[in-house]
C-alpha cells in the first residue's frame, strides 16, 4: 500500500510538471481547437477540421476568398473561352512539393481525374461532363460539354487540393520511420506529427512559394466538445476556435484577451416536408399551413438571441446580398389560418413525427416548433437522432426518407449550388432533393440560372425562384445563423472564412 501511495505521488508530480509544460509551450505556434477529423483523404473529406488540415498542407488551383469571389493560388491566371466551354489555367512558377519535385500540369490533371475516380463531392459543383488536359508543363485546360456558370467554384471545391502525379495513398498514415510520407503537398505547412485522437503538429514550410508563413507552425488540438473548446480558449490554451455555439458567445464577449469573430454565412437549417405521392406535404395547402404555423421572429429571438437573420421560404441566404430578398412576402405567424388550410385540405389536424439531427441548437428548435405548431393544428412528436446516423441513408428514418425533418445545410459559395443540388429532379437520384420537390417552372429557372452569368439577370431569376418557394415550396428557413469564432488577443491577420475550415492561415501572425 505504501509503495502504491509513493508511486501515485510520483506520477502526480511528473504529470503536474509535464502537463503545464506541454500546454504553455505555445511559442510562435498557432494553436487551433477543432473536432477530430475522420476522413483524411482530401478528395473525400467533408467537414471543417478535415478541410483546415488539408488546406494547410496542400494548395488549390484557384481558391474561394472569404468574400466568396475566386482568387489565384497555384494558377496565376485563367481564361474562359467565349462559348463558356473551355477553361485555361496558367500555373505558377517555382512551386515545389514538400518531398521534392516541381509542380507541373501533370499533377493538376492527375488531381482532377482522381476526383472523378473516387467520386469526390467536388463533382456536385463541377459536374462530370468535362475533360482535363495539359498542352504543356505550365498550362491546364478543362473542356466542358455544357455551360456551367459555377464551374470555377467547382475547381475551387474544398476537396480539390493539388496532389502529386501518381499519388495513390493520399494522406494515409504508414508504419515505419517516415509515417507522414503520404501527406505530400505544396502548401504552407508540413505535417510533423499526427495523433488520431490528440492532434496534429504542422511546421511552417520555409520554401513556400508565397514566402514562409509568419507563424512557426500550427497545432491542431482535437477537442470534440464545443463548450470545452470555449473553456480552453478562455483559459489561454488555444488561439483560434470556430463554430462557437451561440449560447457561448456571451461568455466570450465579456472575456479579456479574447476577440470574437462573426460572419454571415449561407449555412442554415431547413424544415422540410416530403412532397411525393402519399406523403405529408403532397397537398400544397399542408405546406402552406406549416409556414403560417411557424413564428420565425420568435425562433430567431429565442434560439439565436436575435443574432440571426430571419429566412424566407427559399435557400437564398442574406450573405448573397445582391440576390437575397430582405422584404420577401413571407407568411406571418397565423395559426388560425394554418388550421383553416388544413381543414380545407380535409386533414383537420396533422399528426406526425419531426426528425431532428443532434447538432447546433436544432433540438431546441424542434421543441419550440412543436409548441408553435400545436396552436396551428399540427401535432408532432420529436425524434432526435445522432447527426452521423441521421445523415447516413442506409439507416431507417434517415434524413432523406422521413416525412418531416430538420436538415442542416452547410455554407455554399453560390446560391445556385443549393438550388442545383436539392431542389431539382436530378437531386432525387443524388440524394440531395430530400423533399422530392419537382416543379417544372422551378426546374427551368434553375437551368437558366446555371447558364446566366449576368448578375442582374440572375437576380431576376432568383426573385422568381423565391416566389415559387413562397407559393408552393416544401421548405421553411427559420433563420440564417451567423457563424461565430474567436481568437486569443495575440492572433493578428486572421480572417475567418464562411466555411471556417477554409480559413487561410498563411498570413496569420502572433504578437509576443
Amino acid at each position: 500500500m505504501r509503495r502504491f501511495v509513493a508511486l501515485f505521488t510520483l506520477l502526480m508530480l511528473i504529470l503536474s510538471i509535464v502537463i503545464p509544460a506541454a500546454a504553455q509551450d505555445a511559442g510562435n505556434r498557432l494553436r487551433v481547437g477543432v473536432n477530430t477529423p475522420v476522413v483524411l483523404d482530401p478528395a473525400l473529406h467533408t467537414n471543417d477540421p478535415e478541410t483546415l488540415l488539408n488546406r494547410s498542407i496542400y494548395d488549390y488551383l484557384v481558391e474561394v476568398l472569404p468574400d466568396s469571389t475566386i482568387g489565384a493560388n497555384l494558377a496565376t491566371e485563367w481564361t474562359i473561352g467565349e462559348d463558356g466551354l473551355t477553361y485555361t489555367f496558367t500555373l505558377r512558377d517555382g512551386v515545389v512539393f514538400h518531398r521534392g519535385g516541381a509542380l507541373t500540369s501533370a499533377d493538376v490533371v492527375y488531381t482532377f481525374n482522381r476526383l472523378k475516380e473516387v467520386g469526390s463531392p467536388a463533382l456536385n459543383l463541377m459536374g462530370s461532363e468535362w475533360e482535363v488536359s495539359a498542352p504543356d508543363a505550365a498550362t491546364v485546360v478543362f473542356t466542358l460539354s455544357a455551360v456551367n456558370a459555377d464551374f470555377l467554384y467547382g475547381v475551387a471545391s474544398r476537396q480539390a487540393v493539388i496532389v502529386q502525379d501518381g499519388a495513390t495513398d493520399v494522406n494515409i498514415l504508414i508504419e515505419g520511420d517516415d509515417p507522414y510520407l503520404n501527406f505530400n503537398g505544396t502548401g504552407p505547412f508540413i505535417l510533423e506529427a499526427y495523433d488520431p485522437v490528440a492532434g496534429a503538429s504542422l511546421v511552417a514550410n520555409s520554401a513556400y512559394w508565397g514566402g514562409a508563413p509568419a507563424v512557426e507552425g500550427v497545432e491542431l488540438v482535437f477537442i470534440d466538445d464545443t463548450v470545452a473548446q470555449v473553456d480552453a480558449l478562455l483559459s489561454g490554451q488555444l488561439d483560434f476556435i470556430f463554430k462557437v455555439p451561440i449560447a457561448q458567445v456571451d461568455r466570450l464577449d465579456g472575456a479579456a484577451e479574447v476577440v470574437v469573430l462573426q460572419r454571415s454565412t449561407s449555412q442554415h437549417p431547413v424544415i422540410r416536408l416530403r412532397t411525393d405521392e402519399g406523403r405529408l406535404g403532397e397537398d400544397v395547402r399542408v405546406r402552406q399551413a406549416f409556414k403560417f404555423a411557424t413564428d420565425r421572429d420568435a425562433l430567431n429571438d429565442l434560439l439565436l438571441q436575435g443574432r440571426g437573420t430571419v429566412g424566407n421560404n427559399d435557400p437564398i441566404a442574406p450573405v448573397f446580398e445582391f440576390f437575397f430578398q430582405p422584404n420577401a412576402n413571407n407568411q406571418t405567424y397565423d395559426p388560425a389560418r394554418a388550421c383553416e388550410l388544413l381543414s380545407e385540405a380535409g386533414i383537420g389536424t396533422v399528426e406526425s413525427t419531426l426528425y431532428v439531427p443532434n447538432a447546433f441548437e436544432y433540438a431546441d428548435l424542434a421543441a419550440v416548433l412543436q409548441q408553435q405548431w400545436a396552436a396551428g393544428c399540427i401535432n408532432v412528436d420529436i425524434q432526435i437522432r445522432e447527426e452521423g446516423y441521421y445523415y447516413d441513408t442506409s439507416n431507417p428514418d434517415n434524413y432523406f426518407d422521413v416525412d418531416l425533418g430538420i436538415t442542416g445545410w452547410g455554407a455554399r459559395p453560390s446560391p445556385q449550388i443549393l438550388l442545383r443540388e436539392a431542389y431539382v429532379e436530378s437531386g432525387i437520384a443524388t440524394g440531395f432533393n430530400e423533399s422530392r420537390f419537382v416543379d417544372a417552372e422551378l426546374e427551368a429557372l434553375v437551368a437558366q440560372g446555371s447558364q446566366t452569368a449576368d448578375p442582374e439577370a440572375r437576380r431576376e431569376i432568383y426573385r422568381q425562384v423565391g416566389d415559387i418557394f413562397a407559393e408552393r415550396g416544401p421548405i421553411i428557413i427559420p433563420y440564417f445563423a451567423p457563424l461565430f469564432g474567436a481568437t486569443s488577443a495575440r492572433v493578428q491577420g486572421l480572417e475567418m472564412a464562411p466555411f471556417p475550415g477554409l480559413t487561410d492561415l498563411r498570413g496569420v501572425s502572433l504578437s509576443a
Partner: protein, 298 residues
C-alpha cells in the same frame, strides 16, 4: 378425521421453521436509524412528488413563457427558467414521474423474471443450471451503457426501448443473486419436507423457497432500482432517453450544460434531483441489508 390430518401437517411445518419476511420488522429497521430513515424519507418524498406532480407544478413542463428565458430563481419561478423560458421547477417535478416510473417498471419486470429464473436454476441444478449460469455470465460481461446505446440506436429512443434494455441488463444479475441464495436453501429441512410431501415444482419454488430468498431479493431490487435511475439519467444525458420536450432529468442536464455560464440553475436543480434520489435509494437499500443481516437472514 379431516381436522386431525390438517393439524398434523401444520404441525410438521411448525416443527421446521424457515426464514420469513416481516414488513413490521423491516419498517422498524428502516426508521430506527438516521441514515436509513433519511433514505426512506427521500424516496417517499420523490414518490409523492411523482404522484402529485401535475398538482404541484405551476406550469406545464413544455410551456415556453414568452420573454422569460434564462430567469434566475425567484418567487414566480422557484428554480428559475431554462434557455427556452420553461419553468425549471415544473420540469423537475414532472420529470420525477418519468425517472421513477420507467426504472420502477423495468426493475419490477427484471425482479420477477430474474427471481423465477434464479429459483428454478438454483433448485433444479444439474446440466440446466450449468448451461444457463454460463449464459447469464456471458450476458453480464456486456458493458451496460454500450448495450443500451447499441439497442436504443437501432430500436430508436423510446420509453419502451429503455424498459427492454434495463430488463435485458438486470434480469441476469437478479437471477444470479437469487440462484446463489437458493443454492444454500435447497437442502433445508422444510424444502426436503415439501418434496417428500409430493408438492409440485411451482409450490416449492414460490411458497417454500421464495420467502427464504426475499431478503436478498429485496436488497438487490433496491440496488437495481438505483442503478436503473442512473442508467436512465445517463441515457437521457446522451440523448438516447425519452425525447424532448419531456422533462427527463438527464436530458435537462445535457441541455443546460451549454448554458451553464448564463443560467446555471437549469443545470443545478435536475442534477441535484438525480443525486438526491439515487442517494435516497442507496441509503434505503443499505438500511434493508442491515435489517436482514441483524436478523441473520443474509
Amino acid at each position: 378425521m379431516t381436522s386431525i390430518d390438517t393439524s398434523a401437517s401444520s404441525g410438521v411445518r411448525r416443527a421446521l421453521p424457515r426464514p420469513g419476511f416481516s414488513l413490521a420488522l423491516v419498517l422498524r429497521g428502516l426508521t430506527g436509524r438516521p441514515l436509513p430513515l433519511i433514505g426512506t424519507l427521500l424516496v417517499v418524498f420523490f414518490l409523492v412528488v411523482a404522484v402529485l406532480g401535475p398538482w404541484i407544478a405551476p406550469y406545464d413542463y413544455a410551456e415556453m413563457i414568452r420573454g422569460a428565458a434564462r430567469q434566475p430563481p425567484s418567487a414566480e419561478h422557484l428554480f428559475g427558467t431554462d434557455q427556452l423560458g420553461r419553468d425549471v421547477f415544473s420540469r423537475v417535478v414532472y420529470g420525477a414521474r418519468e425517472i421513477i416510473a420507467i426504472p420502477m417498471i423495468s426493475t419490477s419486470i427484471s425482479v420477477v423474471l430474474g427471481a423465477s429464473l434464479g429459483l428454478l436454476l438454483g433448485y433444479v441444478g444439474g446440466w440446466l443450471d450449468e448451461i444457463a449460469a454460463r449464459l447469464l455470465d456471458s450476458l453480464l460481461s456486456i458493458p451496460a451503457l454500450v448495450l443500451a446505446m447499441v439497442m436504443l440506436g437501432t430500436l430508436g429512443p423510446s420509453p419502451l426501448g429503455i424498459v427492454i434494455v434495463i430488463v435485458l441488463l438486470y434480469t441476469p444479475i437478479v437471477a444470479r443473486v437469487v440462484r446463489s441464495a437458493t443454492l444454500s436453501l435447497r437442502s433445508a429441512g422444510y424444502v426436503e419436507a415439501a418434496r417428500l410431501r409430493g408438492e409440485g415444482l411451482g409450490y416449492i419454488l414460490f411458497r417454500e423457497l421464495l420467502p427464504g430468498v426475499l431478503p436478498a431479493l429485496a436488497v438487490e431490487a433496491a440496488l437495481r432500482f438505483s442503478y436503473a435511475i442512473f442508467l436512465q439519467a445517463s441515457l437521457g444525458f446522451l440523448g438516447l432517453g425519452v425525447q424532448p420536450p419531456s422533462p427527463d432529468w438527464g436530458r435537462m442536464v445535457n441541455e443546460a450544460r451549454g448554458f451553464y455560464a448564463q443560467s446555471p440553475w437549469a443545470l443545478w436543480f435536475p442534477s441535484g434531483a438525480i443525486a438526491l434520489l439515487v442517494i435516497g435509494v442507496n441509503l434505503l437499500s443499505d438500511g434493508l441489508r442491515r435489517v436482514f443481516r441483524r436478523e441473520g437472514q443474509m
